[in-house]
Assembly symmetry: none
Homo-oligomer: 411 residues x 2
């Protein structure tokens, strides 16, 4: 089944909202092996929508529409599709009852234009809207499936998962299973990774290899089609082994994970308690860790030592160290990591000091960063790095690098 | 000028990322009166991209491409466009130098495929990439403008604002001036704000009034078209005055500002030094403040007191307070705000304690938050709030509310 998604709404073309519906639906379809080849957005305009439908009919056998099912004059998706396929609109009594009940529950008067939402395309299967008024619908015409979904994500997403996707799966040929796996890497650029794997990438057919760069990380998605799920997974195992032999030192986890989640796993399992001293990152390391629930088991807190004063008074960095080497130095990073660990009585202390810009400090270049990791009873390690990017990127990448150091050192 | 946006990237069709680029560009174009009639997404496939170009040439005179300018084999935007317009690719020496310098700065070896990023379409104006390697470009062919931008939003957005939009504006008919102004509000919902202004919104023609909700804030964009810029600005002044008479108590700043930027202005001007004690927000308040450069003038740092242990040992919250009232209490917020101010010797201390979820703590509901603001010589104020949303939203909204309290109390 080859699909495309047409989103209807002038608010999308004005940039007032993002087309998250197309992403959501695409992701779900990718999981079940339905290819999506196009996303299109048109405004609330029947001429342009009609042209988009004409075109889609020629190249896809599943056309998914989102938006334009509401009560107002500019909602014209159903009207335009019926004109295109030569069907008519009929009132669906169940939908009308449900709309009337919706207003009753809220003690509001139902205005007449709301009846429009109960009109459905003749011969279609109705998809109930459990979170709003406009029902969805699906029908097949001339070998093409037409799936109409409401625009608001809060209505569309549950309708898609509960009613639309199960319907589509019953229509699919079920002989081939799709198995996919994502490998997450840190510390290697997309182009270098591709260079290391170029022969595998060029030879790919089934499984396929898709690298993707995001926020200083790279992921590789491996996907295989196979009649037997177990056999498909074996093919992925083999390919993964080849890949990790070459770039395994940069690999940190599978599928929907993140550096913070992996750190949480390792520190949680090993019952290692950690505290942070943050200068350049200004609290970002702590903040990213605490976005995940349950981190209080191993993360007790930290000190944001943005000024040198706080580095000296609270974290006992000797004045001579700052005078001689500067606050952005290996020496300062060492004191910060060791002393925050002692101050907060944890097993591990991590520190971040550096220059995020926009101006140089202490005659050191923007992007100069020192990360210190201190463990009770072990020698403190200092990781000096050079980062590029905007102020925010340098802060964000410092945090990621720190997480990566923790993983490499403790897992 | 009629525009359309073509985004290229299989990761979009797989639903791995959202097409935020189309939204961003559409919004900027709407502001200057350029109509966008279509968004299209195609994968890394030259046949389908080529068809999309053919179609766009027939209906638009500005085609904006995002993505596919990178170093890898599946980046084929430039190659496909040159084939379509019959031009060739040439190496841009400046871009090549800049790519080489990029690798040098990072002490990394430049792999050969990176040279591909310095290839540009013959006869185009080059748009510098200040945040990545692949340059953008723009050229006119047969009455149609082709604008090529990189895919990563962190590269695309600054390139669009700094280089592409000014270029487009010089090509536009300049007889009518567009003057626009954004008013930023916090603490009022979009629907309530619309209700307060409904008569003004319904009567709008020129200037126009466009409310937009984002991240718990609401903005109103006022836009006027006028032959004379000064006269246009006067019309905006009059409308703004009417709006602020009604909802001025929620207004906090103009145009591209943010609560953190406004707080930085106030505390910088008044030379008030501040420190933070963060429990529920886990460092997010400090991290958001320090995303802006120059905050070290007034922000010295803080303590992330994620565990009760740290609240007691480092911030001297009496054990009895935690035992009797809990860590999530007015009393605890007061001690945290006052003691972090004393510990770090600042004029102001702010504290955040609460429950972000997913589980209740101390028998208190998720979303219960206490913010304390302590000023030397003044009575400490406690702001108790109830927030809804996910864990991350509750943390984010706590920070925003804290910033808002600081603004209301000190500006």
């Amino acid at each position: 089944m080859n699909a495309e998604i047409i989103a209807i709404g002038s608010e999308l073309l004005l940039g007032q909202i993002t087309n998250t519906n197309a992403q959501y639906i695409s992701k779900q379809l990718a999981n079940v092996g339905i290819n999506v080849y196009y996303h299109t957005v048109v405004g609330d305009n029947s001429v342009r929508l009609s042209e988009a439908i004409d075109q889609a009919q020629k190249r896809s056998n599943l056309i998914i529409f989102t938006g334009g099912l509401g009560p107002t004059k500019d909602d014209l998706t159903k009207e335009t599709i019926t004109a295109s396929v030569g069907r008519s609109l009929v009132t669906d009594q169940e939908a009308l009852d449900s709309i009337e009940a919706y207003f009753k529950r809220r003690n509001r008067v139902m205005t007449d234009n709301n009846r429009k939402q109960a009109l459905v395309i003749e011969g279609s299967s109705i998809l109930r809207n459990d979170h709003g008024m406009a029902p969805g619908m699906v029908f097949k015409d001339n070998g093409v499936y037409y799936l109409l979904l409401p625009g608001p994500p809060k209505e569309m997403e549950p309708m898609f998962m509960t009613y639309a996707l199960p319907f589509l799966l019953t229509q699919l040929d079920e002989s081939a299973q799709i198995v996919s796996r994502v490998l997450n890497f840190y510390g290697i650029g997309e182009s270098q990774l591709e260079t290391e794997l170029i022969d595998l990438i060029e030879a790919q057919t089934n499984p396929t290899i898709a690298p993707l760069a995001k926020d200083g990380e790279v992921t590789i998605r491996l996907t295989v089609k196979h009649e037997n799920e177990v056999e498909g997974a074996k093919l992925l195992d083999e390919l993964e082994k080849k890949i990790l032999t070459r770039v395994g030192s940069f690999f940190y986890g599978y599928n929907e994970t993140s550096l913070t989640k992996e750190v949480a796993l390792v520190f949680g399992e090993k019952k290692l308690r950690i505290a942070a001293a943050e200068s350049i990152t200004g609290g970002l390391f702590s903040s990213e860790l605490t976005q995940n629930p349950g981190v209080s088991e191993f993360f007790v807190g930290g000190v944001t030592c943005y000024s040198n004063e706080v580095k000296q008074s609270l974290l006992n960095v000797p004045k001579e160290v700052i005078d001689e080497f500067g606050a952005v130095s290996e020496e300062c990073a060492r004191f910060l990591a060791e002393n925050v660990r002692e101050l907060l009585k944890t097993d591990v202390g991590i520190s971040f000091t550096g220059i995020a810009g926009p101006t140089e400090i202490e005659g050191k270049e923007i992007g100069t960063v020192f990360i210190g990791v201190s463990k009770l009873g072990e020698q403190t390690r200092i990781y000096p790095i050079k980062l590029a990017g905007t102020r925010e990127q340098i802060q964000g990448r410092s945090v990621k690098y720190g997480l990566y150091c923790l993983l490499k050192q403790f897992s």
